[in-house]
Symmetry: C2
Subunit: 208 residues, 2 copies
C-alpha cells in the first residue's frame, strides 16, 4: 500500500516512469494534507480561552477533518488501482468476437472508474475547503498561515482531481454519464474557487 | 526524520496538536510532489518517437526536477526545525540583563530563520513551475493531467510558503531585511501566478 511507504519512497515511485501513482493520487494526498492542517488548527484552538465560544464547532470540524483525511489517504491507493484497471482491460484478449466485446466493456468500465475515482477526490477536497472556511475568525490566529496552507492544498487537490476527470471523459461512450459528470465538476470548481478566494482574502488581510 | 516516516504517520503527526510540522513543511512536500510529477512526465516522454526532437530538453528538465525534489524533501524537516528554533529561543532564561539580551537575539535569529526557510521553499516551488512550463507541448499528451497537477502542487506550495513568510515578518525588527524579503515574495507570487495561469490555460484547452 502506498500510504504505508515513506514520504521519500513515495516521492521516488511517483517520479519514476510508471504512470501510476500519478496526478490523481497526488491530488488525494494534497487533500489529506489539507484536512490534517485543519485538524491541527482545531487542536491548537480547542481549550484556548479566546476560542472557548467556538468549542463545539471546533470539535465538530476536527472530527470531520479526521474522517476526510482518512478517506482521502485511502484514495491515494484507490486512484492508482483505478488507473491500473484501465491498463489491465486494454491487455485483455481480443481474438474472438466475444473476447472483443468483453474487452470493450471492461475498458469502458475501467474508464468510468478512472473518472469516478478523481471525482470522489474532488468532492472530498471541496469538503475540506468548506471545513477550512468554518474556522475563519474562530481559530488560533497564530496558525492562520496553516489554515491558509490547508485551503491551498485542498484547492490544489480539487483542481488536480478535476483535471484527472476531464482527461478521461472523452474515452467514455456513455453521453448521459458524461453530461452528468461534466455538470458536477463545473459546480465543484465554481464552489471551490469561491470558497478558496474568500479564505485567501481573509488570510492575506489578517496575516503579517 | 519526517521524510522517513510513512505517509500515514506523517498525516497523523501533522494533524496533531503539535504546531510543527505545519504549513511550511506541507508547502515543501507539495513542491516536491510537483517536481516528482514533472519527472514522471519527462520519463513518460523520453524515448517516445513523438517527443524525440525534445529529447535533450526533456533530459535536462528531468535532472533539474530530481534535484528540486531532493531539496524540497529536505526542507520538510528543515522547516519544522526552524519553527522549533523560535520556540526554543522563547524558552531561554531571562533573569539577568545579559540573559535577556541573549534571548532577544536568539528570538530574532529564530524568526529570521522562520522566514528564510519558507522563502527557500517558495523559490524552489517557482523553479518547479518553470520546469512544468518547459514541458508544454513537448511531453506525452496522455500525461497532460499529471503536468497540470504538477503545476497545481508547485503553485500551492509557493503560495503556502509565502503565507508562512508573511506571518513571521512582523516579529522581525530588521526593517532592511523585511523590505528586501517583502519585495522578493511579491515578485515570486507575481511570476508564479503568471506561469501557473499559462499552464492551466494550456491544460484546460488541450485536455478532454
Amino acid at each position: 500500500m502506498l500510504v504505508k511507504s515513506s514520504i521519500e519512497d513515495f516521492s521516488r515511485i511517483l517520479g519514476s516512469s510508471s504512470p501510476a501513482p500519478g496526478g490523481g493520487s497526488v491530488a488525494a494526498l494534497s487533500g489529506a494534507l489539507g484536512a490534517d492542517l485543519v485538524s491541527m488548527v482545531c487542536s491548537l484552538s480547542i481549550g484556548k480561552e479566546d476560542y472557548e465560544p467556538f468549542h463545539n464547532e471546533l470539535a465538530e470540524v476536527l472530527a470531520d477533518a479526521q474522517t476526510l483525511s482518512k478517506g482521502l489517504l485511502e484514495r491515494i491507493d484507490l486512484d492508482a488501482k483505478a488507473f491500473n484497471g484501465v491498463m489491465a482491460a486494454f491487455k485483455m484478449a481480443k481474438e474472438t468476437e466475444e473476447e472483443k466485446l468483453s474487452r470493450k466493456e471492461a475498458i469502458q468500465k475501467g474508464f468510468k472508474e478512472a473518472v469516478l475515482s478523481p471525482l470522489g477526490i474532488a468532492r472530498e477536497c471541496l469538503d475540506v475547503l468548506k471545513l477550512s472556511e468554518k474556522l475563519l475568525g474562530k481559530s488560533n490566529s497564530n496558525a492562520l498561515s496553516d489554515l491558509g496552507v490547508a485551503s491551498q492544498q485542498a484547492y490544489a487537490g480539487l483542481e488536480g482531481a478535476v483535471m484527472n476527470v476531464k482527461i478521461n471523459i472523452p474515452s467514455i461512450k456513455d453521453e448521459v454519464f458524461n453530461t452528468e459528470i461534466s455538470s458536477e465538476i463545473t459546480n465543484i470548481i465554481e464552489d471551490g474557487r469561491k470558497i478558496k478566494d474568500g479564505i485567501y482574502k481573509y488570510v492575506y488581510e489578517n496575516i503579517g
